[in-house]
């Protein structure tokens, strides 16, 4: 087994991890700010993939799908927050979780009604077909694009949260919503926007994953478990944690697939169990935030 193969597999793992990072980020931001675990996150990821596919075929360009699907599904997420989740603030922390779980049934079955149960191939955009010679080996252009795009989105998100006034309000709102309300911030609108952002990230993850996985109504259930593993390893509510853990999981899956393919899906769960035994709050989690 030569070195270039391992490096290529490592890059593959980073591409896989990048999609996980984007998806888990949506989950962890919504939890960090709203205290809601969105069990419909996987279903919304799946719907994002379908929306991207549909919009791409409607407009004839993958790029419109990539741009519009997260916005549309994000807006749909805001509707969900406004109509359903808003009613549950102040009730048991389990209630939003249960509600979104029921919602995922509705979403998955809704997609089955519209698009059928069978998988649909998601064509790779023509500009990104083929492989690129990196000097040490050939790497699929599309996967490289995913890595770059996710890096850009992460940077934009970080700059918004750390350097802008909006980011300041959001971070303060997560710490102490009551004080923010006293200061005249409409915290309900902040939560609405955050939930929309979280769902939009799920949809973006779905569109990006489209050409790498087959698109079918069931794809969300595996993704939900993966996103959970990533957020648990990284620490719930931690953005840095989601990034590190997402890459960790992606790379481990990829490298294990090289040596023992049948263990590839299992390795991330094992990783999670080990992390939890050492640090129950996750790598970047704060003790006490998990209650």
């Amino acid at each position: 087994m030569d070195l270039s193969l391992i490096i290529m597999q490592l890059l593959s793992g980073i591409a896989l991890g990048a999609v996980l990072v984007i998806t888990a980020l949506g989950l962890t931001i919504v939890f960090g700010m709203l205290g809601v675990v969105n069990f419909a996150h996987g279903a919304l990821f799946m719907i994002g993939a379908y929306a991207g596919l549909y919009l791409a075929s409607l407009t004839g360009s993958f790029w419109w799908g990539l741009l519009l699907a997260p916005i549309l599904i994000g807006a749909f997420g805001m509707l969900i927050e406004f109509v359903l989740i808003r009613r549950l603030y102040g009730r048991s922390i389990d209630d939003p979780l249960l509600l979104t779980f029921g919602l995922s049934y509705i979403l998955v079955e809704g997609v089955r009604i519209v698009f059928g149960s069978d998988g649909i191939p998601f064509p790779t955009p023509p500009q990104l077909i083929g492989v690129l010679d990196l000097g040490i080996g050939f790497f699929p252009r599309y996967r490289l694009f995913v890595i770059v795009l996710v890096a850009v989105v992460l940077l934009a998100l970080w700059l918004t949260l750390e350097k802008t006034r909006v980011g300041l309000i959001v971070r303060a709102g997560a710490r102490d919503p009551t004080i923010m309300q006293v200061l005249g911030v409409d915290i309900g609108r902040v939560w609405l926007a955050i939930f929309g952002l979280g769902v939009g990230l799920a949809a973006l993850g779905g569109v990006l994953a489209g050409p790498m996985r087959s698109v079918n109504p069931e794809m969300g259930s595996l993704v939900l478990a993966e996103a959970f593993v990533v957020t648990v390893i990284g620490g719930l509510g931690s953005i840095v944690g989601a990034v590190v853990a997402g890459l960790m999981v992606g790379i481990s899956i990829s490298l294990v697939a090289l040596f023992a393919p049948e263990m590839a899906t299992i390795v991330m769960f094992a990783l999670m169990a080990v992390v939890l035994l050492i640090r129950p709050q996750g790598l970047f989690g704060v003790r006490g935030r998990t209650a």
Partner: protein, 332 residues
């Protein structure tokens, strides 16, 4: 709060007549189950209510009584079924011994998963149990030589149940129902004993206020682990019943959708009540039967009904009914 056998301190607020009824909840529940096949449209449905009722009852110990929202109960339901099937089909173990072995091994599995998951709290716990149960799913999928992988486990059929020289034709649905009802009755009796014990008071104290329970000197972590194992043991018995009933074990039984279904059933019926899980299992299965008659997309309705229950009827059918009848403040 701890040492009153029968939880009398909690039951005192109930009016006398109701109190007497609650004292016989196991016998009453068994009486209802005994006539169930004649109330439902089909015997097969009744058998399913029995099986899922036991699984959900075990889960309710964790969710309703201890307040731990696990999303991984399918692991124990599935483990019970797989271990039973493997013991009978592969090693030729007699059915009753297979059930005992399956429950024992499933409890060990619950201990392993419990050690990792009970270290976490709140919503974290839900996510970790789901992830670890998915791990069990993938292990069963990969270990195809033992479990049959995607095709499920086959090759074991129990057509005759024999014990102490007694022979019962297990293929007859009525016989099957009453044989399986013995398991359900045992599980109910066991669960009632747990709830009436000092330990039962401790887990309810953990649900009401974990920090206070810890301050009172209870070992909260150990209690959670023990209740996780007990819950897994009872739910795995439901799995054994399913294996005996179907003579196959579908891989789907381990999927997290099954865990979700168990959660749905307990909420539909009413968590924190003794008979609620059976009401929940029955209403879910009847709902599924009725809706799937006129549309293959029954899940969209089940999902919507579940959402409505979370929003407007969080105590479920049985729990709300008990409240309306004035049992609300009584021992659940």
């Amino acid at each position: 709060m701890t040492s009153s056998p029968g939880g009398q301190t909690l039951a005192k607020s109930a009016p006398g007549g109701f109190d007497r009824i609650l004292d016989h909840r196991v016998l009453l529940s068994i009486a209802v189950l005994a006539i169930l096949p004649w109330l439902l449209p089909s015997k097969a449905l009744a058998v399913n209510v029995l099986i899922y009722g036991v699984v959900v009852m075990g889960y309710n110990l964790l969710f309703g009584y201890t307040g731990l929202l696990s999303f991984g109960q399918a692991a124990f339901f599935g483990a019970g079924a797989y271990f039973t099937g493997i013991a009978i089909g592969r090693y030729g173990v007699p059915w009753f011994a297979a059930v005992a072995i399956a429950v024992l091994l499933s409890t060990c599995l619950a201990a392993l998963i419990g050690i990792v998951s009970t270290r976490t709290r709140g919503i974290y716990f839900s996510m970790v149990t789901l992830a670890l149960a998915q791990l069990v799913y993938y292990v069963a999928l990969q270990a195809a030589s033992f479990t049959g992988g995607e095709n499920g486990l086959r090759g074991f059929t129990v057509d005759r149940i024999s014990l102490f020289g007694l022979q019962v034709n297990f293929l007859d649905p009525v016989n099957k129902y009453y044989v399986l009802m013995v398991f359900a009755a045992l599980a109910m009796w066991f669960q009632s004993r747990i709830l009436n014990s000092p330990f039962g008071a401790v887990i309810e104290a953990i649900r009401e206020n974990e920090q206070r329970a810890r301050a009172c000197g209870y070992d909260v972590e150990r209690s959670k682990l023990v209740v996780f194992m007990l819950s897994g043991a009872i739910s795995s018995l439901g799995g054994c019943m399913l294996a005996l009933h179907l003579s196959i074990v579908p891989l789907d039984i381990l999927h997290y959708q099954t865990s979700g279904m168990i959660v749905m059933m307990v909420l539909l019926g009413g968590a924190r009540s003794f008979f609620g899980p059976f009401v929940g299992a029955a209403s879910f299965l009847i709902l599924e039967d009725v809706i799937s008659l006129w549309t293959p997309h029954w899940q969209i309705f089940v999902g919507a009904i579940f959402v409505l229950f979370v929003l407007f009827l969080p105590k479920g059918i049985w729990g709300t009914l008990l409240d309306a009848l004035g049992f609300g403040k009584a021992r659940p």
